[in-house]
Symmetry: C2
Subunit: 203 residues, 2 copies
């Protein structure tokens, strides 16, 4: 499990000449980093003097950001697994009558994982807006960094969605995924700008 | 040392109610992640068939991205240290005649570290353009993710530069840092767009 690696070992494996872990796992990690920062700001706000009126909202943010952190940590490994499955499917002997179906199934899974990452990162970005607006003002730069990291996760995972969809032949699946990814990335681009406006006003 | 923590432990510490490690360390980590991805794509390109003509350029990219990776890993801890020094300086008894100087010195150091992170991340972004243009086309999404992560590092570190400069009283230092940070963030915004154009054409 990549989460059990030391930070420096994880970076060594990333930098190695093996294609896994790669950018897909990094995008999932961005979701985990953004949610961890969101949790930190929530914890530095909850119950603090002057923030009594927002305590309930912040508690909900913390609860959700911690759930997203667990799910995105799991997605770091999942991305590596589905990528390996695609490579394995392509290596199936060409005579194998199931080869094409195996490739298509693997590609669909390798599309669904980064789509999940996009959704999780976008949700963290929404949470970062709440903590930028209502969280501890001393940690507002951390809320801004959470937003930037979450948005980079959305954009990074989009590249993996696109690259895998390119070889998918099921037009209905392709269209559904394109539309879903497109909507998220547009909303994410608008939201990160609005969070940064809030952060810059408070800095 | 944060680099010796397991990935999940690092995320736990980040999410805890301690302000360190925080967004500043995350921005430095983004530089390390982007340079690791840049190294990976370089290694998946160097010496591969069809890439003979770019081998020399790619080797230079790899050499530099590995140096940046080491420096940004060190900056993950440095950011935490300079932030702690600022908090310690503010806690100095008000009667201490050196208090104001200690605060100002600590704030300047806490500005210089994220400025270094901005410079390192921008340099990785430049390297990611080379690997997006000339690197292994099978890894072009990784080059794009490296660019996105590096740019998020530039933007994230900028927030820490701004928040620390706010309380610095040396106008000359302030101006110098503002100008330096401003130039990097503008160039970074233009460069990431151009790298993504290259990546999207190849996907």
């Amino acid at each position: 499990m990549l989460k059990d690696k030391k930070l420096e070992e994880f970076l060594d494996e990333l930098a190695s000449d093996s294609p896994t872990p790669g950018g897909g796992s990094v995008s999932a990690l961005l979701g985990a980093l953004a949610s961890a920062l969101t949790s930190m700001v929530s914890r530095l706000t909850e119950g603090k003097k002057g923030y009594e009126s927002v305590t309930e909202d912040i508690r909900k943010v913390l609860e959700e950001s911690e759930k997203i952190r667990k799910r995105t940590i799991a997605l770091i490994d999942e991305d590596t697994e589905v990528f390996k499955a695609v490579m394995a499917a392509y290596k199936t002997p060409k005579e194998n009558p199931d080869r094409e179906k195996m490739i298509q199934d693997a590609l669909k899974k390798a599309t669904e994982v980064p789509l999940k990452v996009m959704n999780e990162c976008f949700r963290v970005l929404e949470l970062s807006r709440t903590i930028a607006e209502n969280g501890n003002v001393n940690s507002v730069s951390d809320a801004g960094i959470a937003a930037l990291v979450a948005h980079a996760g959305v954009q990074g995972a989009l590249l993996n969605v696109m690259i895998n969809l390119k070889s998918v032949k099921d037009d209905e699946f392709k269209k559904k995924c394109f539309v879903e990814a497109d909507v998220i990335v547009i909303k994410s681009g608008e939201l990160v700008k609005s969070v940064l406006r809030v952060v810059n006003e408070k800095i």
